[in-house]
Point group: C2
Chain length 881, copies 2
């Protein structure tokens, strides 16, 4: 005889830790054992461990030695506690057999209820309950469920027999005699499939346990585990529990309840119930459930009024459960003739909003510590909470699906050009900008639109990056739609959607919906998030800055808790219409004088923009990246009318075409951009430096504190930085002496080339700071262009080669090594160097965890990701990432 214990009564099992308990007893078994231990009213029963299930599958689907005897012993104990006997003709014990794996797989595995009924015990149940209809209805249900789950006869076959029998009436309208007759017919159906319906309750039990075991390995359960990343070797436990009946009549009922409101997080029971019903009736949704009390703001008989005692009991149990579990619970209860039973408890699912509110309340109630509370919130969840979402109950017609580039929902009229955005905006009509892909010239339109939809591009395409920066809902790479720019419409399956039509997009799911779909505005809920983030800042070591290009972005970022600007992309300043015109003149200039004149026009525009930025960020550091994109990005693209542009710039169309051809690049990402423009056309960087320091001097003179950090992009050769630094220092010195104002500033570089990381020590000698540009660094390291990876990423994801885009989730294994080398080298070159990250990974918790570990000083991300980064920084400090 084996000494292994394969089965434990609910009051028997003892494990060293909740995790171990859950691993062996499964989620449900663990909850039942816990509640039993807490003295809560749980119908007696026992759990067959996951170990038995694992043994079952490793040994050709037979039971391990000892399980048989242990089930018998546990049943004997159950009979004793319940005061009923299995198969007894007077007081028969009925049980439920339920699966319960360590990780919940809702709906994936099987359950058998009312087990123990047979042609004899049904009579006893009728007598005992004084309700023959109830007894025969239970037997009918059992035959069906057992036939389906254990014997593998498809439930539609049972349904057909019932339909035929009821002949137009509902089964619920049948009386006891009719139900008895129907049960006979169902048993006949079983017989036709080659089985006598087993009358021996022990055989029923044994077969049901087998069936539950087997359901763990069903095709759909395996598929569920695979797609949800659940390991395939945990097995399932089996819970055998005495039946209680919520459908015994007047004084009975059943329901589900959360210990706090799962949508808002507010304290107090929240749930619903059905009088005279079994659990499956609630699930089936045939009857409309009733509220527990007035807090549900819902019509109908409240449990509080119908059964005040049971309600009061439930309230007490709520307290008890939360005290024990220290988290919001989701419970199932049944009231049998006035007696309350708890059938399940588990940690309740909740919205992001509710999660934050619950954590903050529980900390204030003293239930959990601040660090525990911080640990309970997924940093990523915070991003969603600042955006409107589709109302959960809204009707929607999804016409296409793309990539979820920037969360939140948006609804507006379809437009295809930036100028139409403006036109609708002037009429106060919301728009969704639809394009094949966006370019820097669309930015003005993007700021006016409610949301952006593109048919091409990946998670870090221009549209995606800019939209995230703006905190604007965005769906990209939506291959389901075909945009016809010339006819100002797009096709989505059978739909043709024209300019002016309403659509709704959900940037959190990638869905594109026809028409106006109802939305929920974000509810910042009395500052629970602010409180949480203050606690987070107390824990975090990493500072969090924001990427912002304008004064208003910067102000927004500051409001969300940014401790500085980590990346101001000055190219956006060149797309301002006047500046763009001057920039084009500069690029087309054939002599230095004309070039200098054009730059002279750009200077005051940039200076004004820097003034705004510095004023917004008074006292905080502002990192300004000098021009990064290649010059051709400023020339007209193939959609623009070249002759018109040429006329406007007073050059010949030929000259314009010539320059366009000259500047064309095979791989612009690896081309003539960043510091390479600074080296070949130093006037551009010099003008930018002048604009920065003129602005800094003026704002300083107005009594503000300005902390500019001038950043040189794309450095790969130490002397590139040395040269540029000398020029910037020269210009800074000149401006400061012109203004008679002293400004403390830093000069540093963006580490975004693998070579820069490899030569960080030599580069560090010329740098006051490093900012790792992990977007480009990832693209170079992986040899992966964000604009092109869409062509193979789906296949890679399917094949498990890239679970996440390395542009969204930081590649610790690969790019991480380079960043680490960069950090070590930089410190060697300049022990006082300041180091941070700008780029999407500054708001990616995986990245933040890594950047904390290797000792960076700050991360910088889009304003709307600042809360995410702040919480992630706390998680990192608490060792949770």
């Amino acid at each position: 005889m084996s000494h292994t214990r394969w089965a434990f009564s609910f009051d028997e099992a003892s494990y060293d830790s909740p995790e171990e308990r859950k691993a062996h007893l499964g989620g449900k078994g663990s909850g039942l054992a816990q509640m039993t231990a807490l003295g809560l009213p749980v119908p007696p029963g026992f759990t067959i461990t996951t170990d038995a299930c694992i043994w079952f599958f490793s040994n050709g689907e037979v039971w391990p030695e000892g399980l048989d005897a242990q089930v018998d012993a546990a049943m004997a104990r159950l009979e004793e506690v319940a005061g009923k006997k299995f198969g007894d003709a007077d007081a028969p014990l009925l049980v439920s057999v339920r699966s319960g794996a360590p990780v919940s797989m809702p709906g994936m595995m099987d359950t058998v209820l009312n087990l123990g009924l047979n042609d004899d015990t049904v009579q006893a149940l009728a007598r005992q309950s004084g309700n023959a209809r109830f007894a025969w209805d239970a037997y009918r249900r059992f035959v069906q469920m057992f036939g389906d789950v254990v014997l593998g006869i498809h439930y539609t076959r049972f349904a057909r027999v019932e339909e035929e029998f009821a002949a137009g009436r509902e089964v619920s309208d049948l009386d006891a005699g009719e139900l008895q007759e129907l049960t006979g017919k169902l048993k006949q159906l079983v017989k036709q499939h080659g089985h006598d319906f087993p009358q021996d309750p022990k055989e029923q039990l044994r077969l049901s346990i087998d069936a539950v075991f087997r359901s763990y390995n069903s095709h759909r359960a395996r598929y569920y585990r695979k797609t949800n990343g659940i390991p395939d070797d945990t097995g399932t436990a089996v819970n055998i529990q005495a039946m209680v009946f919520g459908n015994m009549g007047e004084g009975s009922g059943t329901g589900v309840a959360f210990t706090r409101n799962p949508k808002s997080g507010h304290r107090g029971l929240f749930g619903e119930w059905l009088p005279n019903a079994q659990g499956e009736d609630v699930v089936a949704g045939v009857r409309t459930p009733l509220p527990l009390d007035e807090s549900a703001e819902k019509e109908g008989l409240q449990l509080k009024e119908a059964m005040p005692e049971a309600y009061e009991q439930l309230q007490q149990m709520r307290e008890q459960l939360e005290q024990h579990y220290r988290d919001m619970q989701d419970i199932e209860f049944t009231i049998e003739n006035g007696t309350l039973y708890l059938l399940q408890t588990r940690t309740g699912k909740r919205t992001g909003q509710a999660a934050v509110r619950i954590v903050v309340d529980m900390v204030e109630e003293g239930l959990i510590s601040r660090t525990e509370g911080l640990g309970r919130i997924e940093p990523k969840a915070l991003e969603m909470m600042l955006r409107p979402i589709i109302h959960p109950d809204a009707r929607r017609k999804v016409v296409a699906k793309g990539l979820d580039a920037s969360p939140g929902a948006a609804c507006g009229r379809v437009v295809f050009t930036a100028s139409d955005c403006q036109e609708y905006f002037d009429r106060d009509e919301p728009t969704v900008l639809v394009r094949i892909e966006t370019s820097p010239e669309d930015i003005q339109g993007m700021t006016l639109a409610q949301g952006i939809l593109t048919s091409r591009g990946g998670q870090t395409s221009h549209a995606a990056v800019v939209a995230r920066g703006m905190g604007k809902p965005c769906v990209v790479g939506c291959a389901d739609i075909t945009v016809d720019m010339s006819r100002q419409l797009f096709y989505a399956g059978d739909y043709v959607i024209r300019k002016g039509d309403w659509i709704t997009i959900d940037g959190g799911t990638g869905e594109v919906m026809e028409g106006r779909v109802e939305m929920l505005e974000p509810d910042t809920d009395g500052g629970a998030m602010a409180t949480l983030l203050e606690w987070a800042d107390d824990q975090a070591r990493l500072q969090v800055r924001a990427n912002a290009d304008t004064g208003s972005d910067a102000a927004k970022a500051r409001a969300l808790g940014a401790q500085g600007i980590g990346l101001c992309r000055t190219e956006h300043m060149f797309f301002q219409p006047d500046a763009l015109r001057a920039m084009r003149k500069m690029i087309l200039a054939e002599d230095p004088r004309t070039r200098q004149l054009a730059l002279g026009e750009i200077l005051p525009i940039q200076r004004e923009m820097f003034i705004e930025l510095f004023e917004s960020m008074d006292g905080l550091p502002v990192t300004i990246r000098l021009l990064d994109p290649p010059l051709h990005e400023f020339l007209p693209d193939r959609h623009e009318d070249l002759s018109a542009v040429a006329r406007d710039l007073q050059v010949s169309a030929d000259r314009l075409r010539q320059r366009l051809a000259d500047l064309e690049e095979a791989n612009p990402m690896l081309g003539h951009r960043g510091v390479r423009v600074g080296i070949t056309t130093p006037e551009v960087y010099r003008t930018q430096a002048r604009a920065i320091f003129e602005a800094a001097c003026r704002v300083t003179a107005d009594g503000h504190v300005v902390r500019p950090e001038v950043m040189i992009p794309l450095v790969g050769i130490p002397d590139e930085l040395k040269k540029m630094r000398e020029m910037i220092e020269e210009e800074a010195g000149r401006v400061m002496s012109e203004y008679g104002v002293e400004v403390n500033y830093l000069v540093g570089t963006m580490l975004e080339l693998p070579r820069a990381c490899l030569l960080a020590e030599q580069i560090g000698k010329h740098a006051d700071f490093f900012s790792f540009g992990t977007n480009d660094l990832t693209q170079m390291t992986y040899g992966l262009s964000r604009d092109d990876m869409g062509k193979f990423f789906a296949d890679y994801q399917r094949a498990g080669l890239m679970p996440d885009s390395p542009l969204a989730v930081f590649d610790v294994d690969g790019v991480g090594q380079l960043v680490e080398m960069g950090v070590k080298g930089g410190r060697k070159g300049n022990p006082r160097i300041k180091m941070g990250v700008c780029g999407e990974h500054g708001g990616d918790p995986v990245g933040v965890g890594f950047f904390h570990k290797i000792g960076l000083d700050y991360v910088s991300c889009s304003p709307y990701r600042v809360p995410v980064a702040r919480l992630a920084a706390a998680h990192a400090a608490l060792g949770l990432l």
Copy 2:
């Protein structure tokens, strides 16, 4: 009084090493001291050290203490040895004052001859020589030279006075009296410029030494040093030497000689002489020099006949100098009244051809060791030796200059399309293919053309890489020309060159010449190079393989000593016309069956090509890279007629346009290519694997030994390689069992992404070999596209930021770190892994030196670079790189 010695008589100086001697005495002074020590007939004299010159410039251009006295002492010694006295009215000593820096700067610095002449000594010289005309001619020359070099009066002013005086006659026709009168006029000219012509020889000497010092710091000398990378702080020595005169009459003469033929390297004196002349006459080229002996194969009086004794002496000195210097010498000699003097010796410049012949001969003569001989040849020099060159004496009209992409000269009729190459080829007319840039579809044309010229692209543009691979002369990035494809002509300055016109290009200099320029065919010279390379192979540890795509390339590579194929780029097989058509069908296929059918057409074409390759490389390893470029490279480009292509492929033009648009990429280098095609379209790699193994089985069955190494490009994720390896092994197994033949093969990957190097350990677990693809690795690491870097490279080179393109000369500091990580990681993952390099750096000596150091097994390069790599590998093993 200072103890520093600033001046040494030729027989006085002693230094620890030849290097130190040269550093202090300069090249010329060092040679004179050496020859004096060897007992060779050197006119006596002394050298003022470079240290004096350095001191001069560091101290406001005054002489160091002690120099004055040391010059006096040395002059006294010189007078004693020469038996003449400076300024003596009877036997006046005349001297030359010559510069001589440690590194030769030909023509950059000044010389004064005949110093010591004045109104008195000229008379003595006339008496002494018995030749008044000679004496006055010498004085005339001295006044001119001193006036120009020391007093700064431009020599054209003297020339004008002479012209006026000669009044239509030549100066050489004037008699003694006339020359005396002319000299007086020249002194008047000096006077007009504010100087009395100094009569005191000591003053003449002092001023001349100053002038030589100053000439070291002249603008043109500084410019020369800068452009030739010579340090600016070595200073120049000054050599003061007793004059000897080759223009004393019948028994006198002067000449230059090499101790071996500098063009062919053959043993024996090679040079020319002029009877009754001074050295400057040889340099001036007024008179045509005569041959030394019959070996020059040249008309005219031979020195051997005219002065047999002097000639015999010269022969002996030749032996003596070579025994001492153990290298070929370039000497200057003067015969004064039958007495031979040597005035200079230095290591002689030579052609690559001659260098190899000399080394091999000297080793065989026992003059130098094999390793010393190997060390004397620059590996890079060998590449040139396999190509035709422009005849050194050919007349040429250079119309444009581009980048020297692939050495050698080519001459042919201009064509602009691959099909015209074919047409002229069929008529047996040589062509030069001229394009804006080339694409893979031009390859067929390139194989038929003599040379390639493009107006765009850098050293590693498509044209450059392919041309080097083919060993074909190529000039790229020739911005001086404007190609008009539609009119089939190009402009070069004032020239319009049309289809059919002759041009000549020099891929070693980048020059484009109008018309047919005379060329020299390479002379492999009785196998001197083969001998040298055999010695090299004995020393080398690195094996050398070649990059070759076809059987004939492979055979060529084998003939040049390749020990295998390190890279066969299979994409070239897809550009074969039938294969290209099938490939396009495959790409346009809308269902798997059509795709499979198209691949079925490609299979036999590739199989045949692999058969050829395997046969050529019988017994040696052949590394085959599966398809690397993105699929869009196989679709028609903007120059092709889409409708015609569509018709031919039996698809609609819309479908074709659609696919073109689908496949378009923003950064193709970082796009959907390499293993990414293998993952998304596995049929392509599977078909290639089948073609490889079918070919291998057939060739094995024919009794050859086949060693295929299948290489997967662009791997950055370990599981990419794992998946592809599984598929290849499956297909290989299937084919081998179909054929019943066993083939030993390897599966490995190209390490060309930074991430691959960082994750080499994990990737190595699935790899039998690594081949570092340093072209792409450099581009990714530097964030530099070879096709685009032309836009800023010139500025970077000028600014000293990139002395060489990292694509031509391996970036040890940056990319080297990644390669080293790759090696270490690879060995950890698989201790028996084989590692090599393919890519341009396999033939770059800097790269080879590094790859040797980090312990790679082999390098692979273009066939024509195999000799370079073999010698470089020997240099590396000898510690010379």
